[in-house]
């Protein structure tokens, strides 16, 4: 669906129009977190419905996006809870079973063959739009289960205990998946961002 074009309107966009324009933005993050188009569309619909049914709850119109993303995150947590086991059941066993640690290059005695690269100052802010796009691409390339669990920690900001509780997942299972997700993400960022000296 193409979002309607309000740019030619002379009057300022109405509350409904502003909400409607943020639909693709919300859908992008719902998809990234849920890795299931139907679930993602449902959560965005519920978010928009909630927003439009109580516009009085939104008092400060300069932060519409913040407000909507806040609602979306709650709806996404509801969806993850609802789908429980499906969230951490893999459709690609091989992909989920490989330990990326083994691919990092260790000698038989456990030493690094080559030292991990210097990525520069960790405190230096990597707040460029380019970095965020690469980060999102790398997260979307994680196997679905790893991607969901990783973003529950990093985007929804749930504790490991909360993730296990919401999904009915054992801590051991969670830690195995997060270990793989973090190492895969590291590899992807090393290749596409930190290792690329040509970046501006």
């Amino acid at each position: 669906m193409t979002p309607p074009d309000f740019t030619s309107a002379t009057e300022p966009a109405s509350f409904e129009q502003q909400v409607a324009l943020l639909q693709p933005y919300l859908l992008k993050f719902a998809r990234l977190q849920l890795r299931n188009d139907a679930w993602a569309e449902d959560t965005v619909s519920e978010t928009l419905l909630a927003a439009l049914s109580k516009p009085q709850a939104f008092s400060n119109r300069s932060q519409l996006k913040t407000w909507l993303v806040g609602i979306l995150k709650h709806k996404i947590i509801d969806a993850l809870r609802l789908h429980g086991r499906e969230v951490f059941q893999s459709d690609n066993e091989v992909d989920e079973r490989e330990d990326p640690l083994d691919a990092m290059g260790f000698k038989p005695d456990g030493h690094y063959i080559e030292a991990p690269a210097q990525w520069g100052n960790p405190e230096q802010h990597s707040s460029s739009k380019q970095f965020f796009e690469i980060l999102e691409a790398c997260v979307s390339q994680l196997p679905a289960v790893q991607g969901r669990l990783f973003l529950m920690r990093e985007w929804l900001e749930l504790s490991s205990d909360e993730v296990c509780k919401e999904l009915g997942l054992t801590p051991t299972n969670l830690y195995v998946q997060l270990h793989r997700a973090r190492l895969r993400l590291r590899e992807c960022l090393a290749l596409n961002w930190y290792g690329n000296t040509a970046r501006s």
């Binding site: 913040t66 640690l101 991990p116 960790p122 965020f132 930190y194």
Partner: protein
Amino acid sequence: MFLNRTCKEATAIMVAKEDRRLPWNERIALRLHLAICKDCPNFERQMLTMRNGMKEWRNYTTRD
């Protein structure tokens, strides 16, 4: 020695640290390893860089 860790083991501990509180013996073992290893501190900084990058991204996605 029971507190000795290889680079591979120390790397796994540094990843685990992002998601759970380490038992005390793992914490000490990691500290000792990082003090004597020339390679692993690089990995520690990579994890810190990623943690900061994720935080920046989270703020970027959530705020107006």
